[in-house]
């Protein structure tokens, strides 16, 4: 391919052929990968197939996946939110501060969710209100929100959460199904319905595919984007409640680097980083894959950092495969 593939009618570096078939094949590819990893895990370690072990493994991805669902919608609409991990930190810090003041669990939950919503509203206002690029704004608020946590906490840690609060991160709903896993399943259904079965979801796709066209066809672009940033904020607040409850303490470095893991999860799930396409089932599969990889490597005593090599390679190859495949098909067609 000596000649450039850019043609006048073609927007540069944008995936083409985003038909249902490609997505279907993407998700089936993910499913195959997930099954292979599952098989590999069960062969690699006799402890893997124990229901309680599997249940423990879900904690590797449930909190990140909650945010990933909302992030998927944001990315499909053509934006990105890199401040989610810092929102977790700020919400956790606020809850920890409230504990020192003697607040109890219901108030803590309310505070966690409120901080998430407020942070999301700040992002949404800056991005839709002032029309600023989301990648830069959320890099800014990422520093700002975590910076506020550092100012409040310094190098301290908040502990002493009430016993009833620990249920969110450590409690079980039924048998081996933890509250977090149940929440993950419920949210997957909710976000799946919102994205794939409602007008709102269709509008999100429309904005991501062609914002101007969406605007002229009567979609309230700014309002919808604002709501999407509220979603990521709220989910980060919810994840913060679960994570803080599971760890039982708050440090300013809580959830460090999660924004990139969440984005990786979303992209691995087949959501086009440039917007316009992607599905919730794909994100669910990506969450399961990342969780199982983490767990499997853990069983084999492989350090987490080596696992990140695997995740990185997986990310690039999963994105590259459909592109290479499409190129090959085009070459055959000529």
């Amino acid at each position: 391919m000596a000649e450039t593939h850019l043609t006048p009618r073609h927007i540069p570096d944008r995936l083409e052929g985003r038909g249902a078939r490609l997505l279907k094949s993407w998700e089936s590819l993910l499913l195959v990968v997930a099954c292979l990893i599952f098989l590999g895990n069960s062969l690699a370690s006799p402890y893997f197939l124990d229901p309680w072990n599997l249940s423990d493994a879900t904690f590797n991805f449930t909190e990140k996946a909650m945010i990933a669902f909302a992030m998927a919608l944001v990315i499909i609409s053509g934006e990105i939110d890199l401040s989610v991990a810092s929102i977790i930190a700020l919400a956790s810090t606020a809850m920890g501060y409230a504990v020192q003041l003697g607040f109890d669990t219901p108030a803590l939950v309310l505070i966690g969710l409120s901080v998430g919503l407020i942070c999301g509203a700040i992002n949404g206002l800056l991005i839709t209100g002032l029309g600023l690029p989301s990648i830069v704004v959320t890099i800014g608020t990422m520093s700002l929100f975590r910076g506020l946590s550092f100012i409040i906490l310094g190098d301290q840690a908040f502990t002493g959460y009430p016993d009833s609060f620990s249920w969110f991160g450590q409690g079980y709903v039924w048998w081996v199904f933890s509250f977090e896993f149940t929440l993950f399943v419920a949210l997957a259904v909710v976000y799946g319905v919102v994205l794939h079965k409602t007008n709102f979801g269709r509008a999100v796709y429309a904005i991501g595919n062609n914002q101007t066209a969406a605007l002229f066809s009567g979609i309230r672009v700014a309002r919808i984007k604002f709501i999407l940033f509220l979603f990521t904020g709220l989910m980060a607040g919810l994840a913060s409640i679960c994570l803080t409850s599971r760890l039982g303490s708050t440090r300013p470095s809580i959830a460090l680097g999660w924004e990139l893991e969440v984005v990786t999860m979303v992209v691995l799930g087949g959501v086009n980083i440039l917007g316009g396409s992607g599905t919730i089932p794909g994100v669910v599969l990506a969450a399961l894959i990342m969780g199982m990889v983490t767990f499997g490597f853990g069983l084999l005593n492989v350090p987490g950092i080596v696992m990140s090599i695997f995740i990185g390679l997986l990310l690039i190859s999963v994105i590259a495969l459909p592109i290479v495949w499409r190129r090959a098909r085009q070459r055959l067609a000529h």
């Binding site: 520093s143 550092f150 990139l260």
Partner: protein
């Protein structure tokens, strides 16, 4: 007209830094003595070098999130070379670090160019891969000061005409990148590709190839910074410069380099980095907790984006003015 706006951007930033220095002087006069300012510049040198590379990439409408990981990997290899062969001349080690950095940049560039994968995804992937490679290479062990030769550690600190070599190196890099941007076809191509990729294609510029070279440049500068970082702080381990990729992007954003591509100058990147450097060095002396640094950086980024956004209104015909204001 455009040149005016751009010049104003840099002037605005110079003004902002002047105001910042004035405020610091009011609280702590010794901060602005020349010797201390030279120290602040020296402390910011590595960030400046990295911001120059990121600038080239952002100009072409891409982004490089893997620069800090590249720095850490190249730095680790430089430190390991030095620990294994103490007799190896330092210039050779620097060359190795730059070569490795360039290679890592080429990998990013090739994925963006040949496979057309969105840059943010590519560099997100390579960021985790490069960090993991450091662990595989070093087995998670640290390389400490006593394992490094004196010559290896001394170079950035050696003084030349009263200034450390580190400062001189960053000045040389600024000059080189300035010449590249203003005097070569490639430098012009960076702007053309980011400003309007279609137009660039019609004028015969290969968009992918130009982006590839931008990544090579950012890789090479990250490799050089790798050596400088480990020799200056006299330690190498997996997590050096963790999260620094965001400081680099912040420097560029504050410097008025548009994330949408095609707008930005070498002066802007340098001033953006210096702005962050002044804040970082001034906080302890004006009795603001260093813990506030992150929050202040965040605020500065948001303000900078808001200020620069006005100059970046999408060029093109406005058909419906009302729709624009949604």
């Amino acid at each position: 007209m455009m040149a005016n706006i751009l010049r104003n951007r840099e002037l605005l930033l110079v003004g902002a830094i002047a105001v910042l220095l004035a405020l610091i002087t009011w609280r702590f006069p010794p901060f602005v003595v020349p010797a201390n300012l030279a120290r602040v510049y020296n402390d910011t040198s590595i960030l400046i070098i990295l911001a120059l590379g990121q600038m080239a990439v952002i100009l072409t409408r891409c982004i490089d999130l893997s620069m800090a990981a590249n720095l850490a990997l190249s730095g680790m290899v430089a430190a390991m070379l030095n620990a294994a062969f103490p007799g190896l001349p330092i210039p050779l080690i620097i060359l190795a670090a730059v070569a490795l950095g360039t290679l890592l940049g080429m990998i990013n560039g090739a994925l963006v160019w040949k496979l057309d994968i969105p840059p943010i995804v590519v560099t997100l992937g390579t960021l985790t891969i490069y960090r993991g490679m450091i662990f595989l290479l070093s087995g998670g062990k640290w390389i400490n000061a006593h394992q490094m030769s004196d010559a290896f550690k001394a170079l950035p600190r050696d003084e030349l005409l009263g200034f450390p070599v580190l400062s001189w190196l960053s000045l040389v890099m600024i000059a080189l990148v300035f010449l590249l941007m203003s005097r070569t076809a490639l430098g012009r191509a960076f702007y053309a590709v980011g400003g309007n990729p279609h137009a660039a294609v019609y004028t015969g510029i290969d968009v992918g190839r130009t982006r590839f070279f931008a990544y090579c440049l950012s890789g090479a500068l990250a490799g050089l910074s790798g050596y400088l970082w480990v020799s200056r702080y006299a330690v190498a381990y997996v997590d050096i410069a963790a999260g620094f990729e965001l400081d680099i992007i912040a420097a560029c954003v504050i410097g008025g380099i548009s994330i949408a591509g095609g707008i930005g100058t070498v002066a802007g990147a340098v001033l953006g980095a210096l702005f962050l450097g002044v804040i970082k060095n001034a906080l302890p002396v004006v009795n603001i907790s260093p813990f506030a640094q992150l929050a202040i950086s965040g605020l500065v980024i948001i303000v900078a984006v808001a200020v620069n956004a006005r100059a970046e209104r999408r060029k093109g015909r406005v058909i419906l003015r009302k729709a624009e204001a949604v």
